[in-house]
């Protein structure tokens, strides 16, 4: 996703004004839209075929799949943004989601306010948490490689999770919301305005929001430039510290929203977020680290596959087929399998660019860095081309 406009001087911070780029229907864009349409049609045909063969059940699980995808997408966007900029996998992300749910729960149940206020409060509390984490912990681990921040994030996760256990009950809790109408579209296919509609709506609007942010605002361009190449971004005058704080804020804010949504469709308990952690990692890796759009695709793939595989598993688990007990519970293995496959065959994911393998020569990395450094020097000094 190289974006030449990222190096324009207009990206220098100071102004976070919204600037609108004219919308061109280029040939490349047309090709992408066409490809997207083909995928959509193929998917509809696929689901239609399955439904005809196996019943309305399939549609219900497809709906669940989209719903799960929405939540995973919101979470994965948050995770992938910080992964791209700080270069590490945030193992505390699931617990941050849980924290978000609990803050919202507190506002909703204890302060007797609407869940909307709960979600908003939760968002801002988590924004603060994210910035604090960067200031206190992760800024000190810069340049130490990928393992040190992982270890620290595990520590953060442990503190959050067990802190919740100490402060709140371990019992699963429910938000105080009017459940809204449960609509039956067809017998066997139910649609809940609260659980399904709200989740899909929130998921979709967050996707739009991040797209707008990344494409049209200076901050978004700065974020993309920084994730792309930290040194170059610094050299072109981007305040990478600010960008990092903004990314942490977004990341944790999104985590809180995902946590609240998760609490709405199921319940709020201390381990809720952690059980989704691997799922979200899978989405991030499938989609490519650092790419919000990849996170959307990855979330879709992972969410749909986890839900839609359940009918198949149930059938497989029947005594006359394979006779495995609790076969439906194995659906969580599907994203894991996808993750492993992606790691084996295409570690950079759908849209990402960072290499996953220790390159055959660490020299490749050194050359890439040297080239980047040279580009930085040239960009900074405006010098002509010298031998390199």
């Amino acid at each position: 996703m190289a974006d030449p406009s990222a190096t324009e001087s207009s990206v220098v911070t100071g102004r976070r004004a919204l600037r609108w780029r004219p919308f061109h229907l280029t040939a490349a864009l047309r090709k992408r839209i066409l490809r997207g349409l083909i995928v959509v049609v193929a998917f509809v045909a696929f689901v239609g075929g399955l439904t005809a063969a196996f019943g309305i059940n399939i549609l219900q699980y497809t709906l669940y799949g989209f719903r799960t995808s929405a939540i995973v997408i919101v979470a994965a966007i948050g995770l992938t943004l910080i992964y791209g900029i700080r270069g590490f996998a945030n193992f505390a992300y699931g617990d941050l989601m849980t924290l978000g749910a609990y803050v919202a729960l507190f506002v909703n149940v204890n302060a007797q306010l609407s869940i909307v206020w709960g979600a908003i409060t939760s968002f801002f509390v988590l924004v603060l948490v994210g910035i604090l984490l960067e200031i206190l912990i992760f800024s000190r681990l810069e340049g130490r490689g990928p393992v040190a921040p992982i270890v620290a994030s595990v520590g953060v996760g442990l503190i959050i999770q067990n802190g919740i256990y100490v402060v709140a009950e371990a019992q699963p809790r429910l938000f105080l919301v009017s459940l809204g109408q449960e609509v039956t579209i067809v017998p066997g296919l139910g649609f809940s305005w609260l659980r399904d509609g709200l989740t899909l709506a929130v998921g979709f609007s967050f996707m739009l929001f991040i797209h707008a942010l990344l494409t049209y605002t200076n901050l978004g361009k700065a974020m993309r430039a920084t994730a792309d190449n930290l040194e170059l971004a610094k050299a072109t005058g981007i305040d990478t510290k600010r960008v990092t704080y903004a990314t942490w804020a977004l990341s944790c804010g999104f985590a809180s929203t995902a946590g609240v949504l998760l609490g709405l469709i199921s319940d709020v308990q201390p381990l809720r977020g952690v059980t989704s952690l691997l799922l979200i990692f899978a989405a991030v890796i499938v989609g490519g680290i650092g790419s919000a759009y990849g996170a959307m695709l990855g979330g879709l793939v992972v969410g749909l596959s986890q839900e839609m595989v359940v009918p198949l598993l149930v059938w497989l688990g029947r005594p006359e087929v394979l006779g495995i007990p609790h076969a439906d519970a194995y659906n969580v293995a599907v994203p894991f399998l996808i993750l492993i496959l992606v790691l084996l065959f295409r570690p950079s994911g759908i849209a990402g660019r960072q290499t996953a393998i220790v390159p055959r020569g660490v020299v490749t990395g050194a050359i890439a860095r040297a080239r980047a450094a040279r580009r930085t020097r040239l960009a900074a000094s405006g010098a002509g081309r010298r031998g390199g």
Binding site: G155, V156, I159, H326, L339, I340, L343
Partner: protein, 325 residues
């Protein structure tokens, strides 16, 4: 955890505490081989621990059929029925854990550190959930019960049993410790340390680094399996929860970071320190609600991880310098 163990007598308690600490020391030594000496960041320690423990349990425990009432299984029971002696269980535990480690290693060791962490974490979690779900095999959340003790006394004497366990554990720990020292000082171990320093340079010097890494990972996994076999003797029944990352993986990280990576003596010190906390928390059980102590202990582990990794990642006791004459 210790609360479920025998409650009588301070010495018995200490014996059991020490046995737990020994189990975790062995786990930590296995992890130290993978991470401290070879630089492979294993976030799925719990998985290999689990495979070893359940293998040993199934090998040594008699079969327990499911309890069915009116066509519904209310207690799943578990496999077993081989009722073989502990040694066989331990050896097979090592074999299966080592094999699992080798299988996991082959596709994942070429990945960079954070991907390896995610992949191994995923492996451990899946194994744990399969264990819970496949309950007719493993007993699910009820676990495996009636694990035969190393030595049974008539009438049952918890103190003597505790002493036997401690003795066996100490012997195992010593053996593992000596074995580890021998291996890392060897030419093969030198290759591992070289890989940790600079893998590409080591490749360029003619070493098949991928093979060495797989071997290191597998050997570390086998040692973790041995820890699992020991573990089953310390508890009345196996609970999959004991193999979750928070209980089986992250504390090991702390032990190795505290004690010093690539320093087996330090790692054992670290294990006893961390386990000392557990023991203290059990002692405080009468004054503070036990649940809170349990959670606070995990929070302390979390805080330790953060503080250590920022300020003293090399650990309290750094790697000893080797002198080749």
């Amino acid at each position: 955890m210790i609360g479920t163990a025998i409650d009588t007598g301070i010495l018995t308690n200490v014996a059991y505490f020490a046995s737990f600490a020994i189990v975790y020391s062995v786990l930590a030594i296995g992890f130290n081989l993978q991470w401290g000496y070879t630089g492979l960041f294993n976030a799925g320690i719990g998985g290999f621990f689990l495979i070893g423990a359940y293998t040993a349990a199934i090998i040594t425990t008699p079969y327990d059929p499911p309890t069915v009432l009116g066509g519904v299984v209310i207690v799943p029971g578990h496999w077993g029925g081989l009722s073989l002696p502990f040694v066989v269980g331990a050896i097979l535990a090592m074999v299966f854990s080592g094999l699992a480690a080798a299988l996991i290693a082959i596709p994942t060791l070429r990945l960079r550190a954070d991907y390896l962490a995610i992949a191994t974490l995923a492996f451990a979690e899946i194994i744990r959930r399969v264990t819970i779900n496949f309950d007719t095999f493993t007993g699910g959340t009820n676990g495996i019960t009636r694990i035969p003790r190393l030595a049974s006394f008539e009438p049952p004497d918890p103190f003597a049993s505790g002493m036997v366990l401690l003795g066996v554990g100490a012997v195992v720990l010593l053996a593992v410790f000596l074995f580890m020292n021998f291996t890392v000082e060897s030419p093969w171990g030198r290759i591992l340390r070289a890989i940790r320093e600079d893998e590409v340079a080591t490749m360029a010097l003619g070493k098949n680094t991928l093979l060495s890494k797989i071997q290191s990972f597998a050997l570390g996994g086998a040692i973790m399996g041995l820890a699992g076999a020991l573990f089953i003797e310390t508890k009345p029944y196996l609970d999959p929860q004991d193999f979750s990352p928070a209980l089986a993986t992250f504390p090991i990280w702390v032990m190795v970071i505290v004690g010093g990576a690539a320093n087996n003596r330090g790692v054992i010190v670290g294990a006893f320190l961390i386990y000392g906390m557990e023991y203290v928390s059990v002692l405080l059980k009468d004054y503070v609600p036990s649940n809170t102590i349990y959670y606070v202990r995990l929070m302390i582990i979390g805080a330790l991880l953060i503080i250590l990794i920022i300020y003293r990642p090399q650990g309290l006791l750094p790697e000893r310098r080797r002198v080749l004459k």
